[in-house]
Symmetry: C2
Subunit: 398 residues, 2 copies
């Protein structure tokens, strides 16, 4: 009996494997089993933190990798071996989460052997991590995990249901405890998924909380595109709404999102176990989300005790300053100062194209005697910086 | 002033556009703005429900599309025009959600111009919808939306925290109402994301509930790989755990998942507003999840009043029938019969490689006088069938 079962098991496995092999290179129209990568593993993270990319493309004339690491400007030219496998190895890379694409004969695409991807605005990228530093916070560890919910709320001011992401900490709901809330806003071209997928908020918060470095808190990530209900593919426009930079969309500069933000705070206070007071609320955002954070805070004095601008878009030259949301900025800064706040934190990279605008804004703050803390990093307008800013900002809260 | 603002606005837009163009074809290492597709739109859904694929690949020798539509076995050979754009148009396709990949000179990849993708086991696919039938249920409509949560529960029997997806209906939490629960299980190679990403459960349930065709219910989608905590990339193995077919993984046939299923039901009953009784519980699954559903129901008599096997894996030849989970099958069927149930539903496609095993199982049921309902469709072991089975099954519940 044992032998017979064993034989059956082998036959079964063989049948499935055969199917898998057949299907992987033919149409998938009849049997949806056995989908899997080939045997090639790419990328390979070597023990010295160099990374080797391997692409099986015997017919190709040129294969290149374009990534977001700093060394060699993230570029590499792969070389073909006798089996038609193209290879390139980077220099040792610092710990980070990296995104990259492979270009074969002028066509940009993903790494065919890497199943792990992220979408950033309109493009898809393959990803990998280098351990031993920042990226340890961006990965899942054996620590208690918080939950993540995609929640729809009714916006009366924007006249529609809208979607947001909500992280609740590991201990949430196990007792009567209530929690402070960080409202965390995405940049142009982002949506309610951006801080999850690219920002790694869930892992960062789980890991900071497990180490006792951050207070257990709720993190709310709304959608900052006021004329959209949700991320591309998640609205009733479905795939007709292709992701674009938000500043190419209508309604970007009407201030409606900032002025309706109290609805989001009210929804969260009514549906989650929050501590509904200023001392227990923070708002922060990257790029356009930093711009939003500033004007949300200015137009809702007494709502937030912590405000974070990460590589914020602070050029007001393109705004209609007569709109209530943007008008009387100096008076609103004065109001905020009178209300009081625990932390007004500005962070930006030296190479950021918004660097000068941030310096100019800080000069305005200095002249108004408006206190802030400033954190300057290397590099530019990139997710590596925004993840690091969250890692630094969250421990300063509450 | 107005002119000056307008000029600034144009300058700002121009700067961003210029950056976007620069960055899209150089390394993304310094400025993470402006990511977006080129001008090419692909695929184009034509008014007659034919679909045109366009790929800009001037250097390529051969471009092919491999999809999961039935016509032409989902295959097409693209032809190059004078500008180096390759094109292929399908015959008219019936309403469905379709997945496809583009092969350029032997390298399989995504459609470079389509931002929308899904991962199925180890491979990524581009997607599109054809409206006017089934696919209308798979897309987002202007109806009230339910929420989706990724929830971690502690499994004492499996000795670890584990992740599951939970859909709550639109009205959930707005009053004191309690809801019935459908436990919906994925197949081999799947995980807690599969019924969301490929099964479109959230949209199907939102749309069925909005039309009054299904009772508002909670849908719980656990992870059926008993030695894994969560989907690939969501466990502490991080990207080391590359997606594979579950039957290639250890622990697939030890029955631990099925025997520990009461922990999931208890967790849900303790943390969600359920009606915690047999009449208000269903369990259903596809392929391996159908196999799981059968043995979960057989080993937990009195727990479920509705059982659904979608293209279920019912070949017991490869099982160790001495294990408590699989032993005494006839006696357990008899128990289930005595306990009583509202619906035992079996669905499979005529071309499914598991078709004969399902016929054999139904013969066993017939001989035992065990009542079931049978639904036979065309085609094989594919998501198009499983989405349709959910569309048919959910309205029969509660």
């Amino acid at each position: 009996m044992k032998t017979s079962r064993h034989t059956c098991s082998i036959l079964w496995k063989t049948a499935i494997s055969a199917l898998a092999l057949c299907i992987s290179f033919t149409a998938a129209s009849q049997q949806n089993v056995g989908f899997r990568q080939g045997d090639l593993i790419s990328p390979v993270i070597n023990s010295d933190n160099t990374v080797t990319f391997l692409v099986h493309a015997p017919m190709a004339k040129e294969v290149q990798v374009f990534g977001d690491w700093e060394a060699d400007n993230g570029y590499g030219k792969l070389e073909k071996d006798a089996e038609g496998i193209w290879k390139f190895t980077t220099v040792p890379l610092p710990s980070e989460m990296y995104t990259y694409r492979i270009m074969i004969d002028g066509v940009m695409g993903l790494d065919p052997s890497n199943p792990f991807t992220r979408r950033d605005v309109g493009n898809n990228f393959s990803i990998f991590y280098i351990d031993g530093g920042y990226a340890d916070y961006y990965q899942v560890k054996d620590v208690p995990h918080g939950n993540l919910s995609y929640v729809w709320y009714q916006s009366e001011k924007l006249g529609t249901e809208r979607r947001m992401s909500v992280y609740t900490p590991p201990c949430y709901g196990r007792g009567k405890k209530r929690y402070p809330v960080l409202y965390l806003l995405h940049g142009s071209g982002g949506d309610e998924n951006a801080w999850i997928e690219l920002g790694h908020t869930v892992r960062i918060m789980d890991n900071l909380i497990a180490e006792g470095k951050a207070e257990p808190m709720i993190v709310v990530m709304p959608n900052g595109n006021s004329l959209k209900q949700a991320a591309p593919g998640e609205t009733s426009e479905n795939l007709e709404y292709r992701p674009v930079m938000t500043n190419m969309m209508p309604g970007y500069k009407n201030g409606n999102y900032e002025m309706a933000f109290d609805e989001i705070v009210n929804y969260i206070d009514n549906h989650f176990r929050t501590i509904a007071k200023k001392e227990m609320r923070a708002v922060a955002g990257l790029s356009m989300g930093g711009f939003h954070s500033l004007f949300i805070a200015l137009n809702h004095p007494g709502m937030f005790d912590y405000i974070g601008l990460f590589s914020a878009g602070l050029n007001t030259a393109f705004l209609d300053m007569s709109l209530p949301v943007y008008s009387d900025m100096e008076k609103k800064l004065e109001n905020l100062k009178e209300e009081g706040y625990e932390l007004f934190w500005i962070a930006i990279g030296k190479d950021d194209f918004l660097y000068q605008d941030n310096l100019k804004f800080m000069k305005t703050c200095d002249e108004a005697g408006f206190d802030y803390k400033y954190h300057e990093t290397s590099r530019g307008h990139i997710w590596a910086n925004w993840r690091q800013y969250l890692l630094l900002f969250a421990p300063m809260l509450f």
